[in-house]
């Protein structure tokens, strides 16, 4: 269970990353969605005890992230955004080191690392220095760490960034197989659709949408996206969202598409919200 009450984070210099954030979620796979600077990473860092909040309360599985940080750290595993492997060390060395940090014995660490590296198809490269691996393989080292951790709650901050579509799908299938609770942040709508039981969309440090995909898309079920006309500007493209009946007159003139999570992102998380 993730519980966040009036959580605020103001960084040195006055940047407000989280603004009186309140929500709770008890699903097994939660996705935090939002544009750059929405506060996703700040929230994950606070929930995984890496960063102190300015004010408010946050609990993970009943543990307060400030008061019970040591107890909480026993049940969580957190893979930071932009984490990079140490170039000279091998995948096996990375995973074993991480597991000993989580309290595993050497024997158990090796066994769990072996299993996880096999699962992410890195076992045959287990002894290769990380700087000789491809970008996708490097990212999979961290997925293997999370997989092997046996943590009750796993935080994955943009786990598939920079991966090719095939590697991304591979990582998705691994994430789906993880028996632990997974809290994920992503920029990829498809990823959120594939992996989430619940989505929390953030904008400027506040929750602007929360629910499962069906609920979120429910209120737009009679609407479509028309590209090429309308007041909403996305880059050089104008778009508008209108009823299906109304859209009939544009058939053959403009591309018409069903509303997806990407559209909710454009409508709610984008800079156009005020307009």
């Amino acid at each position: 269970m993730i519980e966040v009450f009036h959580l605020t984070k103001v960084y040195k210099g006055g940047v407000k990353a989280l603004d009186d954030l309140t929500f709770s979620s008890s699903v097994k796979r939660l996705t935090l969605l939002g544009n750059n600077g929405a506060g996703k990473t700040t929230l994950v860092r606070i929930l995984s005890t890496q960063l102190l909040p300015t004010s408010g309360i946050a609990r993970v599985e009943g543990y307060d992230v400030v008061k019970d940080a040591k107890k909480l750290r026993k049940i969580i595993s957190s893979i930071p955004q932009e984490a990079q492997p140490v170039g000279i060390a091998s995948p096996l060395e990375h995973v074993v080191m991480y597991l000993t940090a989580r309290g595993f014995s050497f024997k158990d660490a090796y066994e769990s690392a072996r299993k996880a590296l096999k699962e992410v198809n890195l076992w045959e490269f287990k002894d290769k220095p990380a700087d000789e691996l491809s970008g996708g393989m490097k990212r999979k080292i961290f997925v293997a760490m999370a997989l092997a951790s046996n943590a009750e709650v796993i935080f994955l901050d943009e786990p598939t960034v920079g991966l090719d579509p095939l590697s991304r799908m591979e990582v998705w299938s691994i994430i789906r197989s993880i028996p632990s609770k997974v809290i994920l942040t992503t920029h990829y709508m498809e990823e959120a659709e594939e992996l989430s039981e619940e989505i929390v969309m953030l904008r400027k440090g506040k929750v602007i949408l929360k629910g499962n995909l069906k609920e979120l898309l429910g209120k737009f079920k009679d609407m479509v996206r028309v590209e090429g006309i309308g007041d909403l500007k996305v880059g050089l493209m104008n778009i508008m969202y209108i009823n299906r009946e109304e859209a009939a007159k544009y058939v053959g003139k403009y591309p018409i598409k069903p509303v997806t999570l990407e559209d909710l992102f454009i409508i709610y998380a984008g800079e156009n919200l005020e307009s």
Binding site: R45, S48, T49, Q50, L51, L52, A69, R73, K74, I76, S77, S78, I79, P80, Q81, E82, A83, Q84, P85, V86, I88, A89, S90, E93, H94, V96, M97, Y98, T100, A101, R102, G103, F104, S105, F106, A109, P129, M145, F155
Partner: protein, 244 residues
Amino acid sequence: MRVRILNLKFIIAFAMFYGYTYLKRGFVYVFSYLAEPLALMFLLYMINHRYLPYGVLGGLVTMIMGISINSIGDYVYLRNEIKLQDLLVASQVGPTDYILGLTFANLIFSSPGILGYIVLNLALRVVNVVSLVFVILLSLLLLFTGSFLAFMIASFIPQTRYSWGVATILFIAFTILPPVYYPYTLLPSNVIYALSMIPTTPTSIIAQGLAGLQELNIKYLIPLFVEFIVFYLISVKVSRWRSK
């Protein structure tokens, strides 16, 4: 008071992860550690043969200080670029485990150079076996004192690009200014007291005494112990392990 038990398994695993791997796959770095002390030793030999023992003994102290103070760059790099500190904060590792892990890693990786200096000190009869044992113990105290200091400094360096520069400046300030390569008796006593704030000063004074190059001055263990405790407390209590 609650005593925190160290995560020894992690300390060993990290020392192997970050130290042994460099020894195994990046031996060029190993030689780079030797370059400066060897160059200074050569310079001293050319200027005045009489100062060679100071150069050999000072080379060992310089290597130990180099391991400690150069880890500033490692700490900042691992925190900012690799995000390793974030990864470890959210686990069962504390700052002391991390500092000890990295210190032992750098010790392993520098071990060929340290062994080389030990052999040189014995071969040139700068120290005997008994005094060597004390010099090694003293060096370990310097190593940990310097490592706690390095972690403390690193935690306040925001950008990676500053870290290597700061480490280089401090390395030179900590190994050239204090009486590491010259007899401490050349300095006026008030300057010695002022320089005693730098851990290499009391270490070198005692080491020169243990080697019989100067009179043994055990009282300089006091500032070294005080620095060890103060830097440890600051690195664990004040430094930024969990981000604020």
